[in-house]
Amino acid sequence: MEPLQIAERLKERFPDEVLDVREFRGQVSVTIRKGKIAEIGRFLHDEPDLYFDYLVDLCGVDYLGKKDLRFEVVYHLYSIKHRHALRLKAEVTENDARIDSVMPVWIGVNWHERECYDMYGIVFAGHPDLRRVLLPEDWEGYPLRKDYPLKGPAQEWSGFLDVLDRSKKYKQYDWQG
């Protein structure tokens, strides 16, 4: 099915949820409200002529200073059976940075949502194990937010300070020559 037709189908089924449909070089992006993301996912996954059985990627975007709604969660969907693709963009506000998890629909999205939480601090409601994936568990802040300093906060991460302390302590046992 052509991606614009899929977007039309989606608009018919969820007229209040679809905000915008855009095409760029044959790729169609559908901007949606975040409220019914799990339902929309279930619809796209289960409908036999859409059959989006593969969630290629899930990523977060920070539009600090460029848009009123600060965050966006982007879902790249693909149907292996029908060989068509669609991109969903769900807008998330800064004050209420949470969105429903799509784990019930695509189970493989588990770590993607954890990474998005790790880097942007967007909470995925209903996720069974929402912890940080890449950063240490006691890390403070969300590094891919635009207002996060590139070289990290002034206060160094305690785990690395421990390593530095330990290496300083062990230096006294080194042979000084």
């Binding site: 590139l150 080194d174 020559g177």
Partner: protein
């Protein structure tokens, strides 16, 4: 690192044989970017090695952090490890690699005490 162990350059002929465990090793390579999260593990590997022990830092990232100066990267593994030889390059040529190892061998040969005067 892969190329230097393969048949063209072949570190085995110089008696440098990779071991499966730090407890059987005489020296270690720190190859690649060291992140803050990983630094503790690198340090632990070093602490597990029997003395006398040596460390070679391989490539720009391990030497100085290289192009990565961000919240998560260590700016050179010499911040928490005593490094004997630095091999420059991004990535280092196999020749540079062998050069670094020969440098370490010279350094060990020049030792007059149990430990090197170089430190």
């Amino acid at each position: 690192m892969m190329a230097v162990y393969a048949s063209h350059n072949d570190l085995d002929r110089m008696g440098i044989i990779p071991r499966g465990s730090p407890r059987q090793s005489d020296f270690m390579f720190v190859a690649g970017t060291v992140t803050k999260k990983m630094s503790e593990i690198v340090r632990r590997v070093y602490d597990q090695m029997p003395e006398p022990r040596y460390v070679i830092s391989v490539g720009s990232c391990a030497n100085s952090g290289g192009i990565f100066n961000t919240y998560s990267t260590v700016q050179g593994c010499d911040t928490f490890l005593p490094i004997d030889v630095y091999i420059p390059g991004c990535p280092p040529r196999p020749e540079a690699f062998i050069g670094g190892i020969i440098k370490l061998q010279e350094k060990i040969k020049a030792e007059q005490f149990r430990w090197s005067r170089w430190r």
